[in-house]
Symmetry: C2
Subunit: 357 residues, 2 copies
Amino acid sequence: MTHRVLVLPGDGIGPEVMAETVAVIELVNQKLGIEMSLEHALLGGAAIDAEGVPYPESTAQKAHQADAIILGAVGGPKWDGLDRAIRPEKGLLGIRSDLQLFGNLRPAILYPQLAGASSLKPDLVAGLDLLIVRELTGGIYFGQPRGFDTTDDGQRRGYNTYVYTESEIRRVTVLAFDLARKRGSRVCSVDKANVLEATMLWREVVNEVAKDYPDVELSHMYVDNAAMQLIRAPKQFDVMVTGNMFGDILSDAAAMLTGSIGMLPSASLDQAGRGMYEPCHGSAPDIAGQGIANPLATILSAAMMYRYSLNEPQAADAIERAVGVVLDQGYRTGDIAAAGEASVSTSTMGAAVRAAL
Amino acid sequence: MTHRVLVLPGDGIGPEVMAETVAVIELVNQKLGIEMSLEHALLGGAAIDAEGVPYPESTAQKAHQADAIILGAVGGPKWDGLDRAIRPEKGLLGIRSDLQLFGNLRPAILYPQLAGASSLKPDLVAGLDLLIVRELTGGIYFGQPRGFDTTDDGQRRGYNTYVYTESEIRRVTVLAFDLARKRGSRVCSVDKANVLEATMLWREVVNEVAKDYPDVELSHMYVDNAAMQLIRAPKQFDVMVTGNMFGDILSDAAAMLTGSIGMLPSASLDQAGRGMYEPCHGSAPDIAGQGIANPLATILSAAMMYRYSLNEPQAADAIERAVGVVLDQGYRTGDIAAAGEASVSTSTMGAAVRAAL
Ligand SMILES: CC(C)[C@H](C(=O)O)[C@@H](O)C(=O)O
Ligand SMILES: CC(C)[C@H](C(=O)O)[C@@H](O)C(=O)O
């Protein structure tokens, strides 16, 4: 069976890190005898430039046909002046929603070789391995009604709707519990159930789902406390599950705990396990085109793709092992180099990973 | 002129830390010849127990007559089983809204004597002094409509409304800029204007207000990035201003950066500068009644009260100086004692502050 993979290089450093990643994918396929067709399409600013919209119909068609999608990053100041409706972020939100990629997996793993990069004291983060499961196609990001109006006394007003149905909550919670079973068997659900009705329902449904997982330990935490606990003692967590908005905030905080966001991949899955894979970092327009970006987060996103959507775990293992090897060998791009340490280019890092394969 | 101050001991450790604080207030008044009438009332769980509601009419009346309110903390597992409408948190939200205490000041200050308590590396937090100004009476906490309903296909659904008008945004932004002028003259406004309409208006209005403050430097940051930056390099911030929900999360994160949340006071101000003052920490039911809670955050809240609502800056200075002295002298309650260090009781700490006055 031939896997159909869609490549979306995106904007900024996206095309640079994607070139290295595609080369890694091709080598892995060749070594392991994996059949794959790779198609390319545009998303975000690149799509706006070429076709006037951030998520063109041609990209949507290819996306629906693919078994998995690998994405670089979208956005940049170049498109800041545009009307909101056609900005690069809309392309990202559009494809997530169109493909119903409701389950966003954001691991925060501390690589022992990079332990010094964390802003936290070493003993608090040594061995950190937590997984945030963020609901990605609902909540306040997509809730209706939303927009602007005018109050009776003539003031401008802006509004959004934070809304969850039980099925939206259930499917992402089931995903989190299933993943926890393969890890530390602990789930912490994050809400603000002491204030927000939408998250009271969240807590209720999570408790219902938990009944089917007596072997998994469930706890609940308010979002303000969760933000504190991530800073105080991040290793207390195994899997955290939360809504779209809280997940956006907490997963970035968790990523930063490692100090090396240039290393962190992510997956966004639909009900059938098809998914989109992308680095946690953004398009970094300030360093785009210089050939110095870290390709490892995107390369590790490809590993997640093999594992979660293509059912080729040996390819995932091979890539992750190779990344470990290059870190051991001392290869560092600028973002993960310690003060005074020499740094290598994007293409050198990519070549090192391929050599380690 | 006699200042009218209302004391709300609240629940859990609230009454214990408040007893020490009232004793400090009385001593300061006596030493500096400040005239003050102190009234007491119930809020939260204590009010539920006595009168069946978390914010009784009698408390509201006294609150409206007061120049300032000092609060311990509310809530505890004892009231968890109650109907949402009469839980302790409702008392807190009720009094904030009733008195229109829209401007919540949450300083995160690292005391040099307690530098070791932070989970961040020392050089990242040494000298940390940031102020979060959180909008406290609007946004998703109070937006209508809110509640539960059923979808067409029979599913439960929970929803809230995130809404801001321009006047709500303007008054808290003006407060933040005014405060920034007395500090480092920098304001960072936090929003999610790449996704949420309510926060697009937020950014627009902040930009309008900024025109009146050419001497204050303004920046904007998305909330996910702000959570990262607080962990990566918290000293980059002077004043941060944000909405109710983001402020809840970020101010707790910022407080935790110091490692000593038992030290941090807060103020909640109305348009006329009347305010409610309370520690950042909660009611800590696990240690309530043991006489070991740290009273310093509440004592420092009294200092903020003298400064912001009573216009008695010399009293505020005296209290803050006294707290510095007891820390220098080595007094530590359990929460701020280093491993192996001896710790003192709530009353010993209170007495030490009074002795230092
Ligand atoms: C770019 C933005 C719309 C997006 C989000 O908020 O989801 C990003 O922050 C992310 O987390 O992937
Ligand atoms: C208790 C709760 C309602 C409250 C809030 O969310 O505002 C608390 O977390 C706070 O920050 O004062």
